[in-house]
């Protein structure tokens, strides 16, 4: 039995009231629904509600997702309004003699190795780190999802060509590729996240391909084919929504990875230039063997910022996945 049909059927089986579906009279409509094209949730959707509207409603009912959304929003606002929030400019030295002062009322997160206010640098660093961390993941999604989808759906020669290319890109050290890209196109925030995105899609492509290889053999895909659905329609309407789970987890893991890649690039001189602040660089500076034992607070706050960002996106991502899953949790 095609999965989508089964989904409708089981609502009644387990006693959940089946959503009212009006009598279907026209034959194409019957074929369309039976073929599973309605996977997007139309069959379970209530009157006048779209898939996205429904998903949004479910998202707001999920406490963890709302918490995640809250964290992400707060960090975004901090990044946007950094100059209004930070008491000092990002490269302003409060007092060099007070370098590595532990947190006090005056400087709630202490001063760094150059006597700069860590709180202010963290606030400004949100700009670089959120752009690098989040926008690079969007680019990775935009590249990795279609490439993995094509390889997984069409298989055979297409798959072989794409995946062998992925093997090559995967094998060459990513940091070298990013450095070459930045050497050619110049440093700067935009180029950094583009470089990370252009090179970081390989893992996502492999994950999506794996999902597609398994999903394309499912009965509902065959049913769609029989009903005359084309490749792109099957990919977009059936396979992509059903392979979102690993994609979302992968993107949330990608955020801290990208933040640290930026720090490594800055370390070798092709990233953003000091004294501009970024969280990754602050972690790098604070991890110096001379500081880590004596002044762990320098490490604590930027690590907390990166961790909280990842936490926010993890909860938001989990909630989003649950919200988009029309089967709901039971």
């Amino acid at each position: 039995m095609a999965e989508s049909q089964a989904r409708v059927a089981d609502r009644t089986v387990v006693g959940v009231p089946a959503p009212t579906v009006g009598p279907i009279t026209d034959v194409p409509e019957v074929a369309r629904r039976l073929s599973g094209l309605a996977v997007g949730g139309e069959l379970v959707a209530h009157r006048q509600r779209s898939l996205w509207g429904d998903a949004w409603r479910r998202l707001l009912q999920n406490k963890m997702a709302v918490a995640g959304l809250f964290v992400v929003s707060v960090f975004t606002l901090i990044a946007v309004f950094a100059p209004l929030i930070a008491p000092y400019a990002q490269s302003e030295v409060v007092d060099y003699r007070l370098a590595r002062t532990a947190p006090t009322w005056l400087w709630p997160m202490g001063l760094d190795q150059n006597g700069r206010d860590i709180f202010s640098r963290l606030v400004y660093g949100a700009r670089v780190s959120l752009v690098v961390g989040v926008l690079s993941q969007l680019l990775i999604l935009a590249i990795g999802l279609p490439i993995g989808a094509l390889a997984g759906y069409y298989g055979g020669k297409v798959d072989n060509f794409i995946m062998r290319s992925v093997d090559v890109v995967y094998a060459v050290p990513q940091i070298l590729l990013v450095m070459v890209f930045l050497n050619i196109f110049g440093p700067g925030l935009v180029n950094i996240f583009i470089a990370i995105g252009l090179i970081g899609w390989v893992t996502l492509a492999r994950l999506v391909r794996g999902q597609f290889l398994a999903l394309r053999e499912q009965e509902y895909v065959n049913a769609s084919k029989v009903a005359g659905a084309g490749g792109s329609s099957i990919i977009i309407r059936h396979l992509m929504p059903n392979s979102l789970t690993p994609v979302i987890v992968s993107l949330t893991f990608g955020i801290p990875t990208a933040i640290f890649t930026e720090a490594a690039l800055s370390f070798v001189g092709v990233g953003i230039l000091p004294p501009q602040a970024s969280w990754g660089q602050m972690v790098g500076d604070a991890s110096h063997p001379g500081f880590i034992m004596t002044d762990p607070f320098m490490l604590l706050f930027p690590v907390l910022a990166i961790g909280l960002t990842m936490l926010g996106f993890t909860f938001l991502g989990d909630g989003l996945r649950d919200a988009l899953d029309v089967r709901g949790s039971d």
Binding site: N160, D167, V168, I184, G210, L213, E217
Partner: protein, 312 residues
């Protein structure tokens, strides 16, 4: 299956040649030739030119690639610039087996604990184990791994022994079996968190499927439902990841091997690039690339075992 594997093995050749060509191009696009240490002064242009001639770096790029591929095909990867007169072969044959062994243990550790944690987190969604798996993932990804290694040393070698709890850990070398424990944990921690999170989300997705409801409805015990029905379908993303993870940890980690004094090949990835030690860079990239190609072949074959419907 055999025919597919043979075909894939044949494709290793163009893949490796592409990796060599791409690496050559990248090295050409970065400054310096690496025959002398970066920043070295008082070396005459004549000497540099002589060294470059000696290593064939004065030849056209295509010819250099051709010579390299020909030599590599016969198993000769040349002499390291930074560690001369040692040959790349002697360095790698000494260090790679150590990294491989450590990486294999770390991968097993990560897969066994990570998948167990992931399944437990999924069946207790929003329970204690679920939050532990999230916390571990965030901890291991937000803390750079050298900080992680450092904290492990502090905990097991300094803090606990000072409080009278000695587990006999040493740092420096891998002489006793117990010496392997800390590096394995340090190396396997991040992969463990990754595997746990991916397992969790796949299992949660899979648990909601109709066939799971069917399995439960016919009265199958929960443990069997999870093991037989849920896991099989949740395994695809985990398998996809474990392949590259083993290739990555099996070729060593710079920080873990530095922190724990493991004589593996991990540091050569970083040091060769810092020194622009071309023969060494090409060799470590090729070892990693070949390892990765084998793992990805294994991944694809495993897909077919887990889900016999999968064709390629």
């Amino acid at each position: 299956m055999l025919r597919y594997s043979m075909n894939r093995l044949f494709w290793f050749v163009p893949t490796m040649i592409s990796i060599i060509i791409l690496t050559f191009i990248i090295l050409r696009l970065t400054p310096g030739t690496g025959v002398i240490p970066a920043g070295a002064q008082q070396i005459s242009a004549d000497t540099i030119a002589r060294l470059e001639r000696q290593y064939g770096l004065d030849k056209p790029l295509l010819q250099q690639m051709g010579i390299y591929i020909w030599n590599a095909a016969r198993g000769d990867f040349g002499e390291s610039f930074a560690y001369r007169p040692q040959s790349v072969n002697s360095i790698l044959s000494r260090t790679f087996p150590i990294s491989l062994k450590l990486g294999a243990y770390a991968t097993i550790f990560a897969v066994v604990i990570g998948m167990t944690l992931g399944v437990l987190a999924a069946v207790n969604q929003n329970g204690l184990l679920d939050y532990i798996s999230v916390t571990l993932a965030i901890l291991f990804y937000s803390l750079p791994n050298f900080v992680m290694g450092f904290l492990l040393i502090l905990l097991f070698v300094v803090w606990l022994p000072n409080r009278g709890v000695s587990l006999g850990f040493n740092i420096g070398g891998l002489e006793k079996p117990i010496d392997w424990v800390l590096p394995i944990i340090a190396l396997g921690a991040a992969p463990l968190a990754t595997i746990a999170r991916f397992t969790r989300s796949s299992v949660i997705e899979s648990i909601r499927s109709d066939y799971v409801r069917t399995a439960r409805a016919k009265g199958l015990r929960e443990r069997l439902v999870i093991m037989r029905h849920v896991m099989k379908n949740a395994l695809i993303p985990v398998i996809t990841l474990v392949g590259p993870i083993f290739a990555a940890v099996g070729t060593g980690s710079f920080f873990v091997e530095k922190v724990f004094n493991v004589p593996g090949m991990g540091p050569y990835f970083v040091e060769s690039m810092v020194a622009k030690d071309q023969p060494m860079i090409l060799a470590v990239v090729l070892v990693y690339g070949l390892f990765l190609a084998f793992m990805n072949l294994a991944v694809d074959l495993l897909y077919g075992v887990v889900d016999p419907r999968i064709r390629y």
